[in-house]
Symmetry: D2
Subunit: 365 residues, 4 copies
Amino acid sequence: MIVVMKTDTPNLEIQRIIQELQSESITPEKIVGKHKVIIGLVGDTAGLNPQHLQQLSPFIEKVMRVDKPFKRASLEFRHGEPTEVSVPTPNGVVVFGQNHPIVTVAGPCSVENEEMIVETARRVKAAGAQLLRGGAYKPRTSPYSFQGHGESALGLLAKAREVTGLGIVTELMDPADLAKVAEVADIIQIGARNMQNFSLLKQLGAINKPILLKRGMAATIEDWLMSAEYILAAGNPNVILCERGIRTFDRKYTRNTLDLSAVPVLRTLTHLPIMVDPSHGTGKAEYVPTMAKAAIVAGADSLMIEVHPNPTKALSDGPQSLTLEGFDQLMQQMALIGQAVGRWSKKFSISTATPASQKPLTAKA
Amino acid sequence: MIVVMKTDTPNLEIQRIIQELQSESITPEKIVGKHKVIIGLVGDTAGLNPQHLQQLSPFIEKVMRVDKPFKRASLEFRHGEPTEVSVPTPNGVVVFGQNHPIVTVAGPCSVENEEMIVETARRVKAAGAQLLRGGAYKPRTSPYSFQGHGESALGLLAKAREVTGLGIVTELMDPADLAKVAEVADIIQIGARNMQNFSLLKQLGAINKPILLKRGMAATIEDWLMSAEYILAAGNPNVILCERGIRTFDRKYTRNTLDLSAVPVLRTLTHLPIMVDPSHGTGKAEYVPTMAKAAIVAGADSLMIEVHPNPTKALSDGPQSLTLEGFDQLMQQMALIGQAVGRWSKKFSISTATPASQKPLTAKA
Amino acid sequence: MIVVMKTDTPNLEIQRIIQELQSESITPEKIVGKHKVIIGLVGDTAGLNPQHLQQLSPFIEKVMRVDKPFKRASLEFRHGEPTEVSVPTPNGVVVFGQNHPIVTVAGPCSVENEEMIVETARRVKAAGAQLLRGGAYKPRTSPYSFQGHGESALGLLAKAREVTGLGIVTELMDPADLAKVAEVADIIQIGARNMQNFSLLKQLGAINKPILLKRGMAATIEDWLMSAEYILAAGNPNVILCERGIRTFDRKYTRNTLDLSAVPVLRTLTHLPIMVDPSHGTGKAEYVPTMAKAAIVAGADSLMIEVHPNPTKALSDGPQSLTLEGFDQLMQQMALIGQAVGRWSKKFSISTATPASQKPLTAKA
Amino acid sequence: MIVVMKTDTPNLEIQRIIQELQSESITPEKIVGKHKVIIGLVGDTAGLNPQHLQQLSPFIEKVMRVDKPFKRASLEFRHGEPTEVSVPTPNGVVVFGQNHPIVTVAGPCSVENEEMIVETARRVKAAGAQLLRGGAYKPRTSPYSFQGHGESALGLLAKAREVTGLGIVTELMDPADLAKVAEVADIIQIGARNMQNFSLLKQLGAINKPILLKRGMAATIEDWLMSAEYILAAGNPNVILCERGIRTFDRKYTRNTLDLSAVPVLRTLTHLPIMVDPSHGTGKAEYVPTMAKAAIVAGADSLMIEVHPNPTKALSDGPQSLTLEGFDQLMQQMALIGQAVGRWSKKFSISTATPASQKPLTAKA
C-alpha cells in the first residue's frame, strides 16, 4: 500500500503521518521522488482501510493498494518514478537508470592474472566501458573446473581499479566473503544460480553497495522480482536486474534463450534499472554484438559484455567472450544504435558525418 | 554435397556435369548465384568421393559436403549467398532478403468484414506496409471460437488487394483449400501449429507462391529448418522463415517468449529470409513496438504486425493488435531504427532534420 | 451446461426437453450413462439461466454450468461417468476405459514388409497384446528420412489383422487418406505433430472409428483436451488420449519427458480413456519397461509399446523399440503390476504361486 | 579413471599401488565394494596411460577411463555397485539403497509448534515412516512469507526425535547454520533452489551426515550429478538424490512436472540412492498417492511425503500435504505396490489374505 503526498507537503506533516502509521506489523518507508514524496507500507496491510488512511491528513493526495506480490520492487511503490542507482567510481559517478545514458560493463569471465585484467581494463575503458567485470569466485557446474582465484583475484581487481579508475563488478557466492568482496566491488553481482539463495540475499541489506541481480535460469519474471524484493526489504534499495538468458528446449546453437522481451515487461512492472548480458544469453561470441544492439533498442539501461584478450585460452567462458578488438568495434556499433534511441552518452558519441545508414552493421564483431 | 563452379564456366560444361551426376538416387540442382553457379546434390551422397567428383572437370572450383541435416536450406548449399524472395504485387515487386530494405506486413488477425479489411489495408499502406495480412481460415485452440470466415474472407482479401494494390498474406490450414488460397494470396502462410504437418508441406512444392513458414511453439531451430527443407525439396525455393515466439515456463506477462537470437543464429545457418512477428511473440500490444524495433536490429528482413481498427472488439487476438494510429507511430519509430542500420526503404524514410537522438522512442504505441 | 435427469425419467419427457432446448445456437446432446441420462448443452449458453431451465420439468434433477473451456471432454459433461471406447476386432471387442483391464497395443514404428509385420503381430498377440500398431504414413522430421510405405503398408496391416485377428492402430496424416486408413484401421491415430491440425481433427467427426489423440510436444493438458473437444464436437465421441512425452530443457538421456502425472490429472478433468506411450516418452528401449509399469500404477487404461523383430535394423525409431523377447518379458512384468492394482485381464494373468515379491523386477527388458 | 583390483588382492599391495599413484594432481581413493576393491582416480588423468597403469601390479584386473563429466558419482566409479547410505537413528539404522526396502520420509513442510510436530511424528511413525521431515529454515519465494521458525524449530525436531525415535531430515540454507543443523539432523537436505549453491555444497564435505540433494527446477540430470560430485569431491560420500519435479511450460494443474523417468535414467548413470518427492513434484495432495506409488515402480529407493495434521491451516505448502489419515491410507497402498516389486520392508508388510487385485487402488488418499 502506498500513500502519495501532495507536492509541497511540509516535512513535519510527513513525519507525523509516518509516526501514526508505524506499528508492530508495519514500518512505513519514506520515498523521495523528483516531485512527490510517497510513504510505502509493507506488511500486514490487509486490515488497513484506504479511505480511513486518506483522512489522516489533508496533505494526502491518494492511497493505493499494490496488488502485485512484489511491493517495494513494483512501479506503483515509487508511483512510476524510475530508480537511479548511482555508483561512485574513481572516474566519477556512474548512474544506472531509465533516464540516463546506457552504461557498459565489460571484462573477462574470470580474473586470470594481473597483466590480463589490467590490460583488459585499460582497453575496455578506452573503448567506452564504465565498469570492469571480472570473476574472483566462479560458480562452475563441475567441481573440477577452475573455481576462480578467489581472494587474490580481488586484489588484482583492486589494482585494475586503481590503474584505470573503472568501477568494479564482481560476484559474491558465499556470505562469508561479503566483507572482502564489498571492499573491492563497486557493484556486487549475485549470479543466476544464487538468485534464490535467500540466505545470501538477506545479507545484502546490510551493505551500502549496489547489487546486480541476475535472473535465474528457470526464474519467471515474478520470481525474479521477488528475489529483488528480498534485497529491498532487507534495506538495500540499489538493485539492478540483469537478464542473461533462460533455459529452454533449444540449446543447440545458443547456450540459453535471451529473453529480450523481459526488458519492456519489466519496464511496466518495476522501477529498477535493467541490464542485459548477451554473452551468457547466447553463449557464443558471434551472436553477442547483434544481441547487444538489439538489447539497447529493447530498452536496456546497461549492457554487460564478456571480453578477453585471448578468448581461445580463457580459463572460463572463452567461446562467449569478445576479443579486445571485437569489443572496440561493438562499442562503435552500439554508439550508433544508442544515439538513434537517444540513450548514448555524449562523451562517447560518434560523429555521424558518415551517416549510419551507409555503414551496414553486421553480426561479425 | 555441393559442386562450386569457377566463374565463367561455359553453360554447356555445367550441363555436361549435371548429366554425369544425374543418377537414380541423385538429382543435381543448378543454383545460379550472383557470381558463381553451384550444383547442389541431395540424396544418397554418402558413396560419392569429393576428390573423384573434382576430377570431372577443370571448371570445378571445389566440392564440399554439407554436414547439416538440412541441405537445400543450408547456407553452404548456396555458398553463402542469401536467397531473395520476390513477391509480385499490384504495387510492384516486393523483395525479401538480407540485402534489401525491411518489408513490413500488417493487418488484422482475422478478416471480419469488407469495411474493416479495406480500411485497414488503406491505412497500413499509407503508413508504409507493403503487404496485408488477414486470416480467412483460423487455427483456434477451441472449436467454439471464431474459426474465420473462410472462403468469403478470401474474397474480401482480393477486394482489399484490388483497392490498395497491397500483396496478400493469408494462412493455409487444409490441403483441400490450396487452390482457393493460392488464387488470392501472394504469400501463403503456414502457421506454427502446422509447422510439422508434413502432408501439407509436401504439397507446397507444386505451387509457385512464396511460403511463410512460422516456427512451431516447441520447434528447435533445426526442426524448423527441416520443415523448410520439406518445401524446398518439394520444389518450391521461396520460403520465408517467421519467428513468432516459443513456449517456455514463463507465460504470465507474455503469451510466448520471442526468441530474437534465432535471427542471428539463422543467419549463420541458412540463406532464407527471416521475418519476426512480435505480435504473437509477445501477445500484448504494449510490448509490440519495442520488440519490433529490437527485431530490426537483430537483423530481421521483415516484420509482421497485427493491426486492427478496434482491437477491443476484434474477433481474435485483440490484445496483441495495434490500433491504426499505433501502427502509424510504430512505422515512424521503425523508420528511425531501420535507417540507423541501413535497412529502411528510401521511399519511406524519415527526414532526420530533427535528429533521432532527440526523439526518445518509447514502448508506448 | 448440463441438465441431469432423474433416474427413471420417461423417454418421452427427455425428448420433450431436448426439443424445447433446441435452438439456433444450441444443439442438446443426449448422454446415456449407467444410471442417469444427461442432456449436454454446448454453444451460446451464456444467456441461459440454470434456475429457469430447472423449471422445464419436474424430472430434472439439477442443472450445472461446465466452467472448463472444454465441455464435451469434461468429467462434468458425463456427470463423472468414464467413457468406454469399444473397438470391435476379429478376436472380439476390446474395451478401453477406467473400469476395464489395461489394453496393450504393440508393434513396430513402421510397417516394413509382410514378414516382419505378420511375425511381429503373431508374437505380440502371443504375449498378450490386443491391438497391433504399425505406421504406414510416417511423420519424419527430415524429408530425406523414410516416410513410410503408405498405401501398400496399409495392405500389409490388413493382412496381419487377418492372420492374427488383432485390431489395427495406424496413423493418419493427410485428410485425403482418411477413407483408405479407415478401411484398415480399427483405431485411427493422430500424431503429436498434428494434435493441433484442426482441419484434420474436424474431419474425424464423420467416421465411426475411435481416435487415438497423441499429446503435442508443447501442448498443455488444456490444449490437448481442447483438441479432443474438436473431435467430440464434430460428432465422434470415441477419443482415447495418449501421453507420449513433452519437450523440456533436458533431452540428453531421454528423447522427451514422459509426463506421468498427466494421468491422474486427466482423471480429474475428463471421462476419456488414457493411454501412455513410454517408447516415445523415453526414446530408449532400456527405460521403456520401467516406465510402462509405472504408467500402470499412475492409472493408465492402456499402454502403447514399440516392438521390432530387429531394432538395430529398424527403418525408424529402432533405439526405442523392444525386441520380441523383450516385449514378452515386459508383458509378464506388467501382468504382476497390473494384477497388483486390479487392472489386468484374467485371461492374461500370471499364476502367483511364486509370489511377485520374490521376483525382483528390473529395468532390463 | 578407475583401477579395478582382483578379488583377494592383499591389502598391502593395494596400499602400495595407491602410494605409487599418489601425486600432486591425483589423490587415489580406495572404494571397498562387496566383492572387489576399486581405486578411483580423479584429477589430471589425461596424461595417464591405462596400459602403463595395468603394468603396476599383476593384481590389477583392469583400468578404465570414466568418460562422464561426473566421476565419483558415476556408476563406473564403483564398478556398478550401488552405494548404501546408512543413517543411524534412535530406532535403528535406516539404509537407503537399491538392494534395500524403500524408505519413507514424512512430515510437514514447516515445523510449526511442538504439538503439531510431535503428533505428526507419532502418526507417521505408526504408519510406517522411518524418518521425519520438517523445515526449520524455509526457502520462500516471497520475503513476506513465513520463513520458518529457525533455531527454535530445530529444538522441536530434536524433541520429536527423542519422543518417537525417528531420524530427522531438515533443510540447510545458510553455511552459518551448518553446525546447528547437523546437531539435530540425521540427514541434511539441500533444497532445489540451492542445488547449484556451490559454496554451500563444498562445506558439506566436512561433516559426516548424509546429504539429501534435491534436483534444481531447471537442472539437467547431468547438472544434478555434477552438484552431487561437489559433495563427493569434498569428502562426503553419503549423498541421496531427490527428484522433486522440474519446471515446464504446463503449470496449470501441477506445480512442477515430476520427471519419473529420471529414476531409471539415474540408475544407469550413478550408484547413489534415489528418492522421489511427489508432494513438490505435483503440488497437489490429490495427485500425491498415485505418483508415490508410480515412483516405487519407477525404481525409487525412497519416498518423501508431506503430511500435515491440518493442511488447510498449514503455514506453508498446505495444498500439497496429505492429512494424517491420508498418509495412513497411502502407506497401506504403497505396501501393496512395494511388495509387488519386492522392495517393501517385511516389518511393514500387509497380509495378502485379501489379494491386492481385489482392492482397487484409487487416486484418492
